[in-house]
């Protein structure tokens, strides 16, 4: 009898020993804290909002904030930055140095006199943090500086009082989804005491189909009229991103968590290329005439990322960075907004072709969209007070507002910051959400693009 259990017992003990050894080597080893050494003290970051557009006859103030890298895990992270901006009037060859002066609130600033600003100017800043570390913004300096365009004439538009609650209903709803993982759903990353992150972005392909970035489920969802939505699995790292579809149907997906990365996919969802962005923060990818461009921080420049299978290197992106978004016809769209006013312009080279200044009694929020439309722009801008919000859609013509309407925010779940709207043909598309799910709504803009 003893012989009948002796061998199974020996096997059981041997198996247990093998299992314990396996767990010790693999699980416990993986559980051991692997803490890379803290990075060397960094410069930190230079913060700046480019003015981009300036009234002729007025001086232009350039202000910079400096975030000091902390040395070690202890207080005392302050630093005493100093530096200069280098300014070159449009048409001139050399840059002129203007010292940055300390301002209240820890800002550094310099004033470009009206006479120097009247033709527009290029500029960049070089700042030392007082610890022997320096930073240039934009990073390529004189090779790809920021730019300010002169506003000699512009059309002032009074957007009027907000109509919180009086929204135009959509012309149609292209697709509606619940939250989840199935074929009829879009992913929602949420939970108790946590952000509600839905699909980050969408765009309209040249064939009129809508492509939604369902990054929570690591897939693209394509909506075609009269057909069931199709799902295209993609690689996606991180929690949020943006998406644009090029004129040839190539799909560009921007990952913004961690180090920003731009991936491209064929219309069928096959991976084409992937490459990192030069700047540490990015919020928008758009399809430009020469390939994808990415709006990045802290430069607030548009970085070309490479339109073919070979993404541009970081150095190439920085050297080719543009202060405004290039669109068709050799034009660029320039946006500079504050709570009190939204300035918009179509420019060509150093010349301002057409400009508008939006004003009104309510606070302006972000400019969600500004796209060439006819001989003007179609613009979507948020109006808000402490308890309400709406999106105002404006079709701007050279003489003022050609038409306007108001759209409900529909922002129960977060999208990418500036990816709630897209224009295709004469139609405005909106990615909107509520507790029960998300949908793509359309609105006829009127006029002709």
């Amino acid at each position: 009898m003893r012989k009948t259990w002796r061998w199974p017992l020996a096997g059981f003990l041997l198996g247990g020993l093998v299992g314990a050894t396996f767990l010790t080597v693999n699980v416990v080893g993986a559980s051991s804290p692997i803490v890379p050494p803290a990075r060397a003290a960094s410069f930190g970051e230079v913060l700046h909002t480019p003015p981009l557009l300036a009234r002729v006859g007025k001086a232009v103030e350039l202000s910079y904030g400096v975030v000091c890298g902390v040395v070690g895990d202890k207080p005392g992270g302050s630093c005493t930055p100093n530096g200069a901006v280098f300014v070159r009037a449009a048409g001139e060859a050399g840059f002129r140095k203007l010292p940055l002066e300390p301002e209240p609130g820890g800002l550094l600033s310099a004033v470009v006199p009206a006479g120097d600003a009247d033709r527009g100017f290029d500029y960049y800043a070089a700042i030392d943090n007082g610890r022997g570390q320096s930073s240039t913004l934009p990073e390529a300096g004189a090779a790809a500086p920021q730019h300010v365009w002169p506003l000699e004439t512009w059309t002032t538009v009074d957007v009027g009082a907000p109509r919180f609650g009086e929204f135009r209903p959509p012309s149609s709803v292209v697709g509606g989804f619940g939250w989840g993982r199935g074929d009829g759903a879009l992913g929602l990353d949420s939970g108790r005491q946590q952000s509600r992150i839905g699909p980050s972005a969408f765009d309209v392909a040249p064939d009129g189909s809508v492509v939604v970035l369902d990054q929570v489920n690591q897939r693209l969802v394509r909506l075609r009229s009269g057909r069931k939505p199709s799902q295209l699995p993609i690689a996606f790292a991180g929690g949020e991103g943006d998406l644009a579809v090029g004129g040839d149907g190539t799909i560009y997906v921007l990952e913004v968590s961690g180090k920003p990365l731009l991936r491209s996919f064929s219309p069928a969802g096959a991976p084409i290329s992937a490459g990192p962005l030069a700047d540490p923060v990015a919020d928008m990818v758009r399809a430009g005439p020469s390939g994808p461009i990415v709006h990045a921080f802290p430069s607030e420049m548009w970085l070309p990322a490479g339109g073919d299978r070979r993404p541009l290197t970081a150095a190439q992106q920085l050297r080719r960075a543009q202060p405004a978004r290039t669109v068709e016809g050799g034009l660029e769209v320039v946006v500079h907004a504050s709570a009190a006013e939204v300035d918009l312009a179509l420019v060509r080279g150093d010349r301002t072709v057409r400009a508008w200044a939006l004003r009104g009694p309510a606070s302006f929020g972000e400019v969600q969209l500004a796209e060439p439309y006819g001989d003007g722009l179609v613009v979507v801008v948020r109006l808000w007070d402490e308890r309400h919000a709406e999106f105002r859609v404006l079709r701007l013509a050279p003489g003022g507002v050609a038409s306007t309407f108001t759209v409900a925010p529909g922002e129960w779940a977060e999208t990418a910051s500036l990816s709630r709207f897209r224009v295709h043909g004469d139609t405005l598309y909106q990615l909107r959400s509520r507790r029960s799910g998300a949908e793509i709504a359309t609105y006829e803009i009127g006029g002709k693009r």
């Binding site: 061998w7 041997l14 981009l52 904030g65 968590s257 308890r387 925010p409």
Partner: protein, 207 residues
């Protein structure tokens, strides 16, 4: 004999892997075991110092209910199961980052400042909703239109601090711990105009 040995081998292996391997595998980085308990009271503190402190957390991880992070610009515990503080990963959550970056104290009736080491594992007593409603002696509400850098926008489910106000498109760059897949960072956001969010402020900055 061989059949008995083999049966026992399989049984023993399965027993150990199921009994020990399953729970052990769920906690895979144990970043938290490297955290410290370092803190001290400090005064005065400026908004600028608070922003410098918060900046260290940018590009680090996110841990729901968590509170310690290092400075290597890497999420050292990516992909943890969400909504579980026992995953012991790197990073703060949104309210934990705000609490530590605002140099607040765990005693909710005490409005003064306390330096918390980045590697100190503390979350603080406040939720996002607490910041939204100005709960606690150091915290008040403020009109969103009047906010300045290192004030916060808070909803009942999320809170983030103003890192740099008013970008060219009129967003705000927010420093925040966003989600497990997002980590922590300084992203442009539109919380200011979103009715879910209210303005929140820490009192008694010295500048």
């Amino acid at each position: 004999m061989r059949r008995g040995l083999g049966t026992g081998l399989v049984g023993g292996l399965a027993t150990v892997l199921l009994a020990v391997g399953t729970p052990a595998g769920a906690y895979h980085t144990h970043f938290k075991s490297t955290c410290t308990s370092g803190y001290f009271n400090d005064n005065p503190v400026t908004r600028s110092a608070a922003r410098n402190y918060a900046y260290v957390a940018a590009a680090e991880g996110y841990q729901w209910g968590g509170g310690c992070w290092n400075d290597n610009n890497t999420d050292d515990s990516p992909g943890d199961p969400t909504q579980d503080p026992n995953t012991n990963g790197e990073g703060p959550d949104c309210s934990g980052l705000t609490f530590k970056s605002w140099w607040e104290r765990s005693e909710t009736g005490d409005p003064w400042f306390r330096y918390h080491s980045a590697m100190q594992n503390t979350h603080g007593p406040y939720t996002a909703a607490d910041f939204k409603y100005g709960t606690g002696a150091p915290n008040v509400t403020v009109a969103k239109a009047n906010t300045v850098y290192m004030d916060a926008f808070a909803s009942t489910y999320h809170v983030g601090m103003i890192y740099w106000a008013n970008t060219a498109f009129n967003q705000d760059r927010i420093i925040e711990a966003k989600c497990e897949a997002c980590g922590s960072g300084t992203w442009p956001r539109t919380y200011r105009g979103n009715p879910d969010y209210s303005g929140a402020r820490r009192l008694y900055w010295s500048g």
